[in-house]
């Protein structure tokens, strides 16, 4: 018997930590007690993104958007809405001009969003493979296995213009082609789910909310480059993501979508999970591969690139979670469809974790080329307490600040780099007039100094020196030369560090100096300041 109503309870990590699990159980119980088991399907879904307002419950098809629901609300919700058809007004999300009943798409948080990578998050039960299958899941794999050659897949990716979402922005089709063209008896696919940026949780949400899309994409990659084994490298701090991945892999094996001779195609593929201990540097691809091999996770010189010489010396495709989340859609809808979204150089969408001093924090997906202003003021709802906007930090510890004058920049890989920041993995932290930029820079340097693996001198020593100087300035003991030295050391680190960690670690300090130099000057005692100028 098909269901008439669906009650979707968000079970992302953020909602889970505010008792969404108990809420789900309570709703289930009341649905059963009211004899509604065969009419109402209660589902645990991945993150809806609007974490600020969690736990969130959505009732469909009525489109009732309930926010900040606690377990004690379950009885009323079930009895009033699901049994009697009377929505519980007091829990319905409201904002000026919107009363979120029957018009979820009008909530400003969702208005400018466009979901490709997050298409299934918050819509399906991630622990049930049949839900994924019902929503066009594994259609792309089917098509690839039975209708497309490896070159067809690569061509489609090339047309799409998809670039890596893990930070570097390298064209995905090229990476796959290098590995495909490499001669070897064994090749590998690796999913980079390390996600170490403070404040970022895009990848976690995709793993939790839509694990099968990862399995499908890895299998597609395997078929394309000629690999029969894939590894997911995920940090042990993501227990829910790991659990859902395990469940998904087991189900895919049971249904014959992983394993030998998938769907009778002759192609075989299996996936294993490797847990990382949560070191930031292990997200760097060469360090990650060593870590999978059971060695200490330290970056090594490239080239050779992993695409040619990777895991155990074999050609290896390594891609980020969000990159992979786009693959099935590109195969299903075509590269040309995907290429219509975004800017000249950066196609598709980007998922951001919007946090900091902004009204609506949460997980968002927007087309490339959107203005930062739209993210902060339309989706984010502006700054709480009507404080003044100061800056957005993008790209985490490798990125930099974007100041008020640049709020109307259309963001993509190139424009962010030109501003001295970077796309990074997609953390966006909003800061208001009360935040000291010296302290923000200090915070990130503190992080990278902590996370530096210590192998190369510029990173190990340079980072520590910059941090020391920032601390000195912050305490009001700095001099004008200290500012200059930060810039000199930063430049050297960028040019000579072994890996991306050291190359980008000075960015927060350098961009703070570029846009908020006055704040550094103000911290320098007047007598020394005059001397030096």
């Amino acid at each position: 018997m098909p269901y008439a109503s669906f009650c979707l309870v968000c079970r992302g990590t953020a909602c889970e930590s505010s008792k969404a699990d108990t809420l789900y159980d309570e709703i289930k119980q009341h649905v059963a007690a009211n004899g509604l088991n065969d009419q109402v399907q209660v589902l645990r879904t991945g993150c809806f993104g609007f974490c600020e307002q969690g736990p969130i419950v959505k009732v469909l098809p009525d489109e009732a958007f309930y926010v900040q629901v606690v377990p004690e609300d379950a009885e009323e919700l079930v009895h009033e809405h699901l049994l009697k058809g009377r929505p519980v007004e007091r829990l319905i999300y409201r904002e000026p001009g919107v009363h979120a009943l029957g018009n979820i798409d009008q909530i400003s948080f969702y208005q400018k969003q466009f979901r490709v990578a997050l298409r299934n998050c918050g819509f399906i039960d991630p622990e049930n493979i049949e839900e994924y299958i019902a929503r066009e899941g594994y259609v792309a794999l089917e098509r690839v296995l039975f209708e497309m050659s490896a070159d067809d897949v690569i061509k489609e990716l090339e047309i799409s213009g998809l670039r890596g979402r893990g930070g570097g922005g390298f064209p995905t089709w090229k990476k796959w082609k290098f590995t495909k063209d490499a001669q070897s008896d064994q090749k590998y696919i690796v999913l980079n789910a390390d996600e170490g940026d403070p404040g970022a949780y895009m990848d976690r949400s995709m793993l939790e909310g839509d694990p099968h899309s990862m399995i499908e994409s890895m299998a597609i990659a395997g078929y394309t480059v000629g690999a029969d084994t894939g590894y997911v490298y995920v940090r042990a701090e993501y227990p829910l993501a790991i659990k859902r991945l395990r469940t998904a892999i087991a189900q895919a094996e049971e249904y014959g979508l992983l394993g030998d001779n998938i769907l009778g195609s002759g192609f075989s593929f299996r996936i294993e999970i490797r847990l990382g201990a949560g070191a930031f540097v292990c997200g760097e691809e060469t360090a990650l591969l060593l870590s999978i091999q059971g060695e200490r996770g330290m970056p090594v010189q490239r080239p050779p690139y992993p695409a040619v010489k990777g895991l155990w010396g074999k050609p290896t495709v390594i891609n980020n979670v969000e990159t992979m989340a786009n693959i099935p859609v590109i195969i299903m809808r075509g590269g040309a469809w995907f290429a219509k979204i975004g800017t000249e150089t950066s196609k598709g969408t980007k998922v951001f974790a919007l946090t900091g001093n902004v009204r609506n924090s949460g997980l968002i997906e927007v087309p490339m080329g959107i203005k930062l202003r739209e993210i902060v003021y339309n989706i984010g709802g502006g700054i709480p307490g009507d404080k003044k906007f100061k800056a957005v930090q993008s790209g985490g510890p490798s990125g930099g600040m974007i100041s008020y004058e640049n709020l109307d920049t259309e963001i993509d890989y190139e424009t962010l780099t030109a501003l001295g920041s970077m796309m990074g993995s997609g953390g966006l932290i909003v800061m208001d007039e009360d935040n000291s930029m010296v302290d923000v820079a200090r915070f990130y340097l503190d992080f990278t100094v902590d996370e530096s693996c210590g192998k190369c001198v510029p990173c190990r020593v340079g980072g520590r020196q910059i941090l020391h100087l920032l601390e000195k300035i912050s305490k009001g003991e700095g001099t004008m030369e200290d500012i200059q030295r930060i810039e000199e050391i930063g430049k050297t680190m960028k040019e000579t560090s072994l890996c991306g960690l050291g190359k980008t670690a000075p960015n927060p300090a350098l961009s703070a100096l570029r846009y908020f130099r006055d704040e550094f000057h103000e911290k320098i005692p007047a007598e020394v300041r005059e001397d030096a100028v």
Binding site: M1, P2, Y3, A4, S5, F6, L8, D38, Q39, L60, P61, D62, E63, L83, K84, G85, R86, I104, F123, I124, I129, E130, E131, I133, A134, R135, E136, G137, Y138, V139, E142, F146, Q251, E254, Y255, G256, L257, G259, L263, G264, S265
Partner: protein
Amino acid sequence: MAQKKMTLEELRKLREEKRHSVQVRDTEGKTIQVTVGMGTSGIAAGAKETLQTLVAELAKHELTNVRVRQSGGLGLEHAEPTIEVRVPKMPAVIYGRVTPDVVRRIVNHHIIGRELVDEHIYDRPAADILDAGDHPIVNGE
């Protein structure tokens, strides 16, 4: 989940079987709206069976463009169970005494056949109200 390794045909069959169950959740592209009066008296008069039959019938015909909603009483207590049907370019109609059998006829004649099921119509707004165009669903398509 008693599945064992599927073939391509089995996967496609499974997807077809399950597709509807997920699509009904989607609110995009739904141009037809059916509202079932689920007030206390409606439920007592059998609105639950009506709703179940409605949903089953829609699934049977794979009508994914229909949005089913529940509401309190529709104001015609004497004729319950009641449902309201809004199909673009057709008058919005409230049907009464909608037993499972009647609901099947409504799906087949009204929603699929675009023909009103005359003998069960209890309320039909005047044409000028209909034209007022205040309802996006009616104007949709």
